[in-house]
């Protein structure tokens, strides 16, 4: 497991990205930016906390890509289980940080940041099946697109935008959970199937 961890560089990326996530949630949870919308009536203030899950997604993508291909595919260690565990622990920590700040000053954006991490990590894992290199770009693109076209009339976030929804929004929570599960599923199947 130590070898696996060093091969993945998890000992660098994971604490770093989690700490960065915590820092961002702490500093940006009440910050908003007035963004021009690309859709009529969609302009308005957008929480800056949208960017908080990006470091975690990027770090996870970099970690999962940092491998020793030949040794891993012929080895006997339960690598896939380790990877899945790493993903689950990271996302769980992010969600916990969100809940912690929410309980602290009932900030909904912090709660949403945890949920968004699960959603964006799920997206990234699904994208990894199709493109290893560009997987980390998908969450970033999602964040940018939601900021400019994710809001409809009267600056209401659309359902598909997920990350823009309120922290206690049930559909967004459900979609995030499903996206994360699909991502996990793809990751666990993908390794054996050699996609």
């Amino acid at each position: 497991m130590r070898l696996w961890m060093f091969a993945r560089r998890a000992h660098i990326y994971m604490p770093g990205s989690i700490a960065l996530f915590g820092l961002l949630v702490w500093t940006l949870r009440e910050e908003y930016a007035d963004l021009p919308s690309f859709l009529m009536g969609g302009g308005g203030s957008v929480p800056l906390l949208f960017i908080a899950p990006i470091p975690i997604c990027v770090a996870l993508a970099a970690t999962l890509d940092s491998r020793m291909e030949s040794a891993e595919s012929s080895g006997v260690r339960p690598i896939v289980i380790f990877d899945l565990g790493l993903i689950a622990i990271t996302v769980a920590l992010a969600v916990l940080i969100g809940i912690f700040f929410h309980s602290f000053d009932s900030s909904n954006t912090a709660l949403a940041a945890g949920r968004n991490t699960a959603f964006l990590v799920g997206l990234m894992l699904v994208a990894r099946v199709f493109t290893r290199e560009a997987a980390a770009m998908v969450p970033a693109a999602w964040v940018l697109l939601v900021a400019v076209i994710g809001y409809g009339d009267g600056h209401r976030p659309r359902v598909w935008a997920v990350i823009a929804r309120d922290g206690q929004d049930l559909p967004a929570f459900a979609i995030s959970a499903i996206a994360f599960c699909i991502g996990i599923l793809f990751t666990s199947v993908g390794r054996h199937g050699k996609v």
Binding site: A33, D34, F38, M137, L144
Partner: protein
């Protein structure tokens, strides 16, 4: 590399459909339905350009820096830098960056052109300024993105950089201190009729971002001999410090809107006593204007009221945010705006009889005098409508209007000389504690 191969491996090819989709959404779901110049504003290309760009600065910069970092990571992964040198490093970088620069440029130029065509506005030299600024700044973001992508682990920089640039640029104008927005590269206002950006307000963000770009390039330049490295670092730090501090000290005193130059519209004058000046695009309407103006002054003179006509009446519409102050000889008035509302004669009359009052207004007297003068100038019906509309705001509006009408009717029965005296008396009465 062949063109086809270069396009196939370039990230720009994959991103361009998304960018075109964004432009499509902006144009058809926002611009076409929503875009409307302020009422009474004549056609003005810089206004169209600047308001379209407000949506695209941040997106263009984010795409530029993210994709450039991506290309840098790709070159590093493919170990292009380790190949035996057959080309200049800068040429390799430029070839990888060209498609990215093109995408960033498309994000700026295409929406602007579409908007100009849709509005049927012919672009002039002034409307190019902000477009050029946006292009130059997104080029700097390309350079910075490429250098950052070269020195960071691959795949880490592109997503983080693009999101950070997007939020930093577009959030800057939601935050104080104001200098943030002035160096962000997101020109913090649209340009109303006659307004153009000043040179310093355009150069400040350009200097800021290019100081960063140049210093990053210097830091990333591999040094061949030992002594060069510290030299490069020193130059990089001094360029960075000079550029950023220079642009900061230029903008630190500015308010929420960058300094603009006003009245950048060629005007055409015609006639005498008073001479009327209108923007060149409105040149055909000067005659109409002069006849309306003359009707006011002649009408008032015939009724026995003497008002001093100015030498010159100039259009103030190109100074909307900073109206010029009238003098006795030259009146600055929003002529174009009046014309679009078909209200030239009435407004000119109000200016001519000049009922300005420091104290409290007597509603009955002031409206009575306006209506009497309006009758002399031949715009009684219009003036009556305006009073009716105004008085809706008052609790006793109907009562005031009835009283005004009663007094007017009594005045009308007097002989002309008495009427003039009555009018002058009403004017006196209209301003309490003068």
């Amino acid at each position: 590399m062949k063109l086809g191969t270069r396009l196939r491996v370039s990230s720009a090819t994959w991103v361009i459909p998304i960018c075109l989709g964004l432009i499509y959404l902006y144009f058809f779901k926002s611009f076409k339905e929503d875009f409307k110049p302020p009422s009474g504003q004549p056609e003005y290309a810089p206004y169209v350009v600047s308001s379209v760009l407000l949506s695209f600065y941040a997106v263009s910069y984010a795409v530029a820096s993210g994709l450039s970092a991506w290309e840098a990571g790709r070159l590093k992964r493919d170990q292009v830098w380790k190949l035996s040198p057959v080309r200049f490093r800068y040429r390799i970088a430029l070839e990888a960056l060209l498609p990215v620069i093109a995408v960033a440029g498309i994000l700026i130029l295409v929406p602007v052109c579409m908007a100009l065509v849709q509005e049927g506005t012919v672009p002039d030299a002034g409307s190019v300024v902000l477009v050029l600024m946006a292009l130059v700044i997104s080029l700097a973001h390309c350079v910075i993105g490429f250098c950052v992508g070269t020195i960071t682990p691959p795949r880490l920089a592109p997503p983080i950089l693009s999101v950070v640039v997007f939020y930093a640029v577009s959030a800057a104008w939601s935050y104080e201190p104001f200098w943030l927005r002035h160096i962000s590269g997101h020109y913090a206002t649209d340009l109303l009729f006659g307004e153009l950006p000043t040179a310093s307000s355009v150069m400040a963000p350009v200097t800021f971002i290019w100081a960063i770009a140049v210093s990053v390039v210097l830091i990333c330049t591999p040094a061949r001999s030992k002594g060069v490295r510290p030299l490069l670092l020193t130059v990089a730090v001094s360029v960075l410090a000079a550029g950023t501090y220079g642009s900061y000290s230029t903008v630190k005193e500015w308010g929420h809107t960058p300094p603009l130059s006003y009245g950048n519209v060629a005007s055409v004058c015609d006639g005498k006593k008073p001479r009327v000046c209108l923007p060149r695009s409105q040149r055909d309407r000067i005659e109409e204007f002069r006849s309306e103006t003359n009707a006011v002054f002649v009408g008032l003179a015939e009724s026995g009221i003497s008002v001093a006509a100015p030498q010159e009446i100039k259009d103030n519409s190109s100074y909307r945010r900073h109206p010029r102050i009238s003098t006795d000889a030259t009146w600055w008035l929003p002529l174009t705006e009046w014309q679009s509302r078909n209200a030239v004669r009435y407004n000119m009359l109000i200016e001519a009889i000049d009922l300005r009052c420091e104290g409290e207004l007597d509603q009955v007297a002031v409206r009575g005098s306006v209506l009497w003068a309006a009758e002399a100038a031949g715009v009684f019906d219009y003036a009556w409508k305006i009073q009716e509309r105004d008085l809706v705001k008052f609790r006793e509006g109907k009562k005031i209007l009835a009283e005004v009408e009663q007094r007017l009717q009594k005045a009308r029965k007097m002989p002309p000389n008495d009427q003039v005296r009555w009018y002058e008396n009403e004017v006196q009465r209209s301003c309490i504690n003068k």
